[in-house]
Amino acid sequence: MREVYSVSQLATYLRELLETDLHLADLWLEGEVSNLSRSTAGHTFFTLKDEFAQMHCVMFRRQYGEGTVLENGVQVVAHGRITLFEKRGELQLNVDFLQPAGVGIWQAQFERLKAQLEEEGLFEPSRKRPLPAFPQTIGVVTSPTGAVFHDICQIVGRRWPLAEIVLAPTLVQGDQAASGIVEALAALNREPDIDVIILARGGGSMEELWPFNEEMVARAIYASRLPVISAVGHETDYTISDYVADRRAPTPSAAAELVVPDRAEIGRRLVGHQVMMTGWLAGQVARRHGEVGRLALDLRRAVPDIARQRERVAGLLRGAARAVAQAASGRRERVNACAIQLRSLDPRGTLARGYAIVQRRADGRVVASVGRVKARDRLDVQVSDGSFPAEVSKQYGF
């Protein structure tokens, strides 16, 4: 016994059949426009035909590629999916993108996907993530052979050899490339230590670069938890990957340049910091030096017994001299002269010229004042190439 279907059952069956066919759900069709009409609701109905066949088309929203004129007689390329219009038992193409024919199918597909992903928000500037300033581990998705990976290693190695490069190898052209790229991106995202990903391919024809215009690649970049730099082809090549990625680099070499800092420049900054700090230290020493001199002078004025105090001052000055500069003599004029001279000189050489920092051994405190030491205190005297121990004279004191 053969089952008898109702017309509705058949229509439903056919519609489901059509809509689950992957080819018919994602179809590019070229033909001449005829029977063009527009409904008050803004829908557009037309027929695409060639010499031997025709297909009903409906467009529910306007989504034209650049330069598209929709009128009877023009040749267009449409994208959409085939469905069954059950009420009339007719097949129709639900068009979601339309472009003049002759622009080239690659261009048409590119424009359609770009428009769609843009509308979905995949290119939003607000979702672009900053690149890490000092990446330690850089994932690279590209072909394991050929110049691109070599160049990236060369440039990163020259600029920032502190980094590690982790290659996730994949084909970058041909039918297998898009899924390979998707898997490579996913594999790097599973690694716990990658900081940033470069997706790279050398120059080629639009067909060769095509995997980087595939929707699945765009969505994989969007889904990446790590920031992605897209570096595909030459400077003039723009791919969908470039629009979705957190950053576009005009070439793979440019991506390698921008992903890491420059060792030479950071080295210069390090030297700058060292110079600043050494200068600061020299300034401190000079200031304390002056204070010690003033203190010695005050002491001398305050004490009436000149002869006896002169000796004490001399002793203090010896301490002061040890505190700031081994070379200082016991005379305050010399101490002051040194202070003035020191301030006028390049501060970096201060320690090297023989000044020193004196610290009390017992607690490590810097001796910045004669009152800080007493007879027999043990001291450490730091000079340019190290330090040596010292002891305050046993006659020192008040």
Binding site: A147, I165, V166, P169, P192, E208, R263, I266, L270, M276
Partner: protein, 94 residues
Amino acid sequence: MASEPAESFEELFQRLEEAVAKLEEGGLPLEEALVLYEEGMRLAQRSQEMLDQAELRVTRLQDAFAAYREEGASHSLREELPPYPEEDEPLAEG
């Protein structure tokens, strides 16, 4: 200090820039400032050493496309490559 494990350049450099900024700002007691100075100089030296001694490491995910991870392993096996891989036969426009 030599015993600090796996310090990153970024951390060292950031601490150095902080130390320098504090010294430049001034107003610290000498003892504190000296400690900062010594710390800063050590950080600068350590950073410089890291820059001087660094050598690029290049590895390759060995089994990116297979079920690759041991239970509990933190990441997949990586195959060490020479730091600057030789150029192979160039692909057509590769």
